[in-house]
């Protein structure tokens, strides 16, 4: 791929943050950032909303010069006393890694009777999935996951990177953020299609906890179709296999499926686990080719750019993403309508039920008016 060598100039999520999220998915109770107090602040706080404690060794100028060994030993003791965790993660940062901090030693010295996963990571990697990989490698070493799960995750990561390079935020040197199309108009369009008796597929191909909000789009489309007496015109696909993924990820799939069930929503096709968004595309493509190629439209939510266009090409595509930089690549792929759910992430952390989306709410409102 010749666009592999482009240098992306807009800031990206960092590998440090990616490692933090992975530790969360491994169900650590506490994550210690070994480095400056301000590092990854926004995500650290967000993760606290998600029920894990994120603390920092708060290295300062003196720490950069003299190292942070003692600070790390101290904080390991402190969090152990304060939170009585069952699993602890320690994450490196640029500052601690550049000065050559060793994290194993302080962990050994602290000598807690709790397993500790250390992740030696900084933010200077081209692909932020490196942070995930390092975290998984350490988890494997610590015996928290087995080799099979590790290989599976490794494969997913490679694919996730490819997806971003192909049609995602890493596909161009610079992508201007965009709010996408007007939700109200797109809602009208879906209602129009349903009224005309057109048949549609909802495809939720979401990444982990973002599924809590993208699932609401599936719900809204079905509710509206039902109101219009067209419930049978909709086929639902979602990547909510409850048996796949790291512990927390499986839990999310269970929660979402439970909510679907309670609302009487029928998922016709399970297209993978909540961490399989980078590879679900092939499954989706095959399903459409075999069973749904004559459908008229598709509402795709989550990571729409991971789905190949081969058998979607004839349909009118409405896609919903949470990446403002994803709008242009999706339009270029041939998605007619592209919507962005702003602030999705903060709203889906720390929840265990489906969360209302802006587009879902708009669709429900517009449907009320047009009945």
């Amino acid at each position: 791929m010749d666009n592999k060598n482009i240098s992306i100039i807009h800031p990206r999520p960092s590998s440090i943050v990616a490692a933090l999220y992975t530790l969360r998915d491994l169900n650590v109770d506490v994550a210690i950032l070994h480095g400056p107090p301000g590092c990854s602040f926004k995500h650290a706080r967000l993760l606290e909303e998600d029920g894990i404690h994120v603390v920092t060794t708060a290295l300062d100028e003196s720490g950069f010069v003299f190292g942070g060994h003692d600070a790390l030993v101290n904080i390991l003791h402190k969090v152990n006393d304060m939170f009585h965790p069952k699993l602890i993660g320690v994450v490196g940062t640029c500052a601690s890694m550049i000065i050559g901090e060793e994290m194993r030693e302080p962990v050994m010295e602290a000598n807690l009777d709790v397993p500790v996963i250390e992740v030696e990571v900084h933010a200077g990697y081209r692909n932020n999935t490196k942070g995930v990989l390092f975290a998984l490698e350490s988890a494997l070493d610590a015996g928290i996951i087995d080799r099979e799960e590790f290989s599976r995750q490794q494969h997913l990561l490679e694919e996730a990177t490819n997806v971003e390079l192909r049609h995602g935020a890493a596909s161009k040197e610079y992508l201007a953020p965009s709010r996408g199309d007007v939700k109200y108009k797109v809602a009208q369009r879906i209602i129009e299609l349903l009224k005309e008796g057109k048949r549609g597929i909802t495809i939720m191909n979401a990444k982990k906890e973002t599924g809590y909000m993208f699932a609401d789009i599936t719900l809204a489309v079905n509710e509206v179709a039902e109101k219009l007496g067209k419930a049978d015109n909709i086929i639902n696909m979602s990547n909510t296999d409850v048996g796949l993924g790291l512990p927390r990820v499986r839990h999310h799939a269970e929660c979402i499926m439970k909510d679907f069930e309670e609302k009487g929503l029928n998922v016709h096709e399970i297209i993978g686990g909540l961490d399989e968004y980078p590879v679900a595309g092939a499954t989706i493509d095959k399903l459409i080719e075999e069973k749904y190629s004559d459908y008229d439209f598709a509402v795709i939510s989550g990571v729409p750019h991971a789905i190949p266009m081969d058998h979607l090409a004839g349909m009118e595509i409405i896609s919903v993403t949470n990446g403002p930089r994803q709008v242009l690549p999706l339009k270029e792929l041939g998605h007619e309508h592209v919507l962005v759910e702003i602030d999705l992430h903060p709203k889906t952390l720390g929840v265990n039920h489906i969360v209302e989306s802006e587009f879902g709410a708009t669709l429900r409102e517009v449907a009320k008016e047009s009945l």
Binding site: S62, F64, V65, F66
Partner: protein
């Protein structure tokens, strides 16, 4: 008098920068100049022979303890009023010494008034220029000219050549080469040639004499303990040359082949 010499002495580790720097400082003080020596080595022994063998608290020691550092905490008067400062640094193998120099230099710049009143300030910088920290005194605008110390052996010359390359990169002129003799064959000839080929000249040839070691072991400079020795004369002459020198060049480093040929 009112001169404003701000120099740094670079050179391979162990080549004798500290003894040269402290003896030059002492010699200049003998002449009545206001002199400061700033040791940038984590070993913090650049000024020890000016202080009768005593160690002083370093800037980074205090910083580590969270002290709000004042000038009087880190600037100490030594032989004939030479002001002594030690940057300090982490223990070997942990932390980042380069960052240490940067932080300490910034601190010193902020707290020291006497920095502006000195006739001569000598920065004694460790080893080779290996990272940004080691050129911090220059980059922060505190050093105006550099001297490179070497012997006639291949490795010190190799380092010296590399330092010249670094100096050119950061646009800092070289004022001269100093040879601290290791008594190797044709030493003076080799270093003189090297100096000429990079566009500079040999400022002094310091003979290898036991007296330097002996004074150092006792915790004194040669200027203080053996002022009548032959080598004290050499330091005195070097000090005078440094204070009077007003020409410098942008050095042009040699390529590896030429350097090797030179030392054959």
């Amino acid at each position: 008098m009112n001169v404003h010499k701000r120099i740094a002495i670079y050179g391979k580790g162990g080549i004798g920068k500290s003894s040269t720097a402290s003896n030059v400082a002492a010699a200049c003080a003998d002449e009545g100049y206001k002199v400061m020596i700033i040791g940038c080595d984590p070993k913090s022994d650049s000024s020890i022979t000016l202080l009768g063998g005593k160690r002083i608290p370093t800037i980074l020691d205090l910083l580590r303890d969270g002290v709000d550092v004042k000038e009087e905490d880190v600037v100490f008067k030594g032989y004939k009023g030479v002001q002594c400062v030690e940057v300090g640094g982490p223990e070997p193998g942990i932390g980042c010494a380069g960052r240490g120099i940067i932080v300490a230099i910034q601190t010193l710049k902020k707290i020291s008034r006497s920095l502006n009143e000195m006739d001569l300030i000598i920065y004694d910088v460790p080893g080779d220029i290996v990272c940004g920290g080691f050129v911090a005194p220059i980059r922060k605008g505190l050093v105006k000219e550099a001297y490179v110390l070497t012997s006639g052996e291949y490795m010190p010359l190799y380092a010296a050549n590399n330092i010249c390359r670094g100096l050119a990169k950061i646009n800092t002129p070289l004022s001269g080469i100093i040879c601290n003799s290791r008594s190797v064959s044709r030493e003076e000839e080799i270093v003189t040639k090297f100096a000429a080929e990079i566009g500079s000249e040999l400022m002094a040839f310091i003979p290898k004499e036991q007296i330097v070691q002996d004074c150092e072991r006792d915790g004194f400079s040669v200027m203080e303990k053996a002022p009548d020795s032959n080598v004290a004369q050499v330091y005195r002459k070097l000090a005078r040359t440094i204070m009077e020198r007003d020409s410098s060049v942008m050095p042009e480093a040699l390529d590896d082949d030429r350097l090797r040929e030179l030392t054959k």
